[in-house]
């Protein structure tokens, strides 16, 4: 318990960019306090309560510690970025007549703020909307690949999952996105919407791998393979796909018998999960409806940004700072695309640092 307390305190102080000397000094003092409290007969829980939550302690200590110079330098870089961007923008414009796409340099403002002023994990997640937009624009303007170039926006939730989810949970968390991307590629490039939808079966097949009983896992995976083979055989040979679909009763039954299908139960019991799953399905439906119905592939991808936004609102505190990268991307692209005002719509990205400053002031 003592080591955990001291370790957490060190971590929080490091996050506050405290100087190593200060951290060592404080840690020494807290180790003494901890030892003295234990020696006086207190339990670990009591000591933890007496010394206080390490995060709160670090906040109380903030005016007694020296911050790293690096933090000052980073802050200066972020603060001067608007001017640097403006100078580069004018230089590109006046000397090379590159007003467009020279305005892209303004993306350096939110990018530098995210990289320098947030923790590494948050920075990587926060930077993804920009990388996706830039990649998307290069694919669109450079190669006229607006569709299926929008697939790059899947990188936003995928990176967020990779960074935030435990290593062992990454495959199952990523499987819906991977399946969707493969499904779209099969459909768009090879007209294989059917039976391309079978790729979605990798979601339960990967999920099944987490089941503890390995014999049951083997039986289940084999039942999936058998069901898929049967479906394809009956479908292609006799053109009776609905008969082939009967095969899926096999893995479904095994899943119930082995108790693998319990996600549904969890979702039923968890109000937040129920709302989130409902929203994800609605958003995906809306995306395809806009894509197929209005041929809006160029812009419909924006509704997919509602998925990570919904996750933030449902599972985290409602903080506009976290939502702004997504809102800015939507404003930037919608104003730029629908009104051909890309030379002005980049201003939407200034909202990110602005909102962060207002909300965190």
């Amino acid at each position: 318990m003592k080591d955990k307390y001291l370790h957490t305190l060190r971590k929080v102080l490091e996050e506050h960019q405290a100087l190593a000397n200060d951290i060592d000094d404080i840690l020494n003092d807290y180790e003494q306090l901890y030892n003295d409290a234990l020696a006086s007969g207190k339990t670990d829980d009591e000591v933890w309560h007496i010394l206080g939550d390490p995060k709160e302690v670090a906040k109380d200590l903030i005016d007694t510690i020296h911050l790293k110079k690096e933090k000052d330098i980073k802050t200066k870089i972020v603060a001067s970025m608007p001017f640097i961007s403006l100078i580069i923008f004018f230089l590109l414009g006046f000397t090379k007549n590159l007003w467009h796409p020279g305005w892209l340099v303004f993306l350096m403002i939110p990018i530098s703020a995210i990289l320098f002023e947030t923790k590494l994990k948050d920075g990587i997640v926060g930077i993804m909307p920009f990388i996706s937009v830039i990649t998307f624009l290069i694919l669109g303007w450079g190669y006229d690949l607006w569709h299926p170039g929008w697939v790059v926006f899947f990188a936003i939730p995928i990176v967020a999952i990779i960074v935030n989810v435990d290593l062992k949970d990454i495959p199952v968390s990523l499987s819906p996105f991977i399946a969707t991307i493969v499904f779209i590629i099969l459909g768009v490039q090879y007209e294989l919407w059917h039976p391309g939808w079978l790729v979605f079966l990798i979601i339960p097949m990967i999920g099944t791998l987490y089941h503890k009983n390995k014999v049951q896992v083997l039986v289940l995976e084999l039942s999936y393979i058998l069901a898929i083979s049967f479906y394809l055989y009956v479908g292609y040979t006799y053109d009776k796909w609905y008969l082939g679909a009967i095969g899926f009763i096999l893995p479904f039954s095994f899943s119930i018998i082995f108790g693998v299908i319990k996600i549904t139960v969890d979702i039923r019991n968890d109000k937040k999960a129920r709302i989130f799953v409902g929203l994800v399905l609605a958003i995906i439906f809306l995306f395809f409806a806009l894509g197929f119905g209005l041929h809006g592939w160029v812009w419909a991808w924006q509704v997919l940004l509602l998925i990570p936004m919904a996750a933030i609102i449902i599972y985290d505190k409602l903080r506009f700072t976290s939502l702004m990268p997504f809102i800015s991307v939507i404003l930037f692209f919608s104003i730029g695309y629908f009104f051909t005002l890309f030379h002005l719509s980049w201003l939407a990205f200034l909202l990110i640092p602005l909102v962060a400053v207002i909300e965190n002031a």
Binding site: I26, N28, D29, Y30, E31, Q32, L33, N35, D36, A37, A39, S40, H49, I50, L51, G52, D53, E56, V57, D60, L61, D63, T64
Partner: protein
């Protein structure tokens, strides 16, 4: 009670305790907690701040429970400041007690 107000009082109590004898961190926390209702976790940050402001100096002494212990000793500057705070506090308290007792000039 207002947190800042309470912190101010705790700060003065810490100054007063250490003006009487040199003390180590947990000793201050324990003594205060036995005498008044205080958030123990606010004590060390106050000790550290007052030390940084020159009210205390520290020295290390060996103990029989293992690692050496850091003691806080009041400086002349700290003593001077404590006298000033005490005068202000007593006068303030006197006024408050007068008002609470209805013994004041309208």
């Amino acid at each position: 009670m207002n947190t800042q107000f309470k912190k101010g009082i705790v700060e003065m109590c810490i100054l007063s305790l250490i003006s009487r004898k040199d003390m180590y961190g947990f000793e201050v926390i324990d003594t205060l907690a036995k005498a008044i209702d205080v958030n123990e976790n606010t004590v060390y940050p106050i000790l550290r701040r007052l030390t940084a402001q020159g009210f205390f100096e520290t020295y290390v002494e060996q103990t029989n429970i293992g690692a050496p212990r850091k003691y806080y000793r009041m400086t002349d500057f700290g003593r001077k400041k404590l006298n000033q705070y005490e005068t202000e506090w007593r006068s303030f308290l006197e006024g408050v007690l007068k008002i609470l007792g209805g013994n004041y000039e309208g």
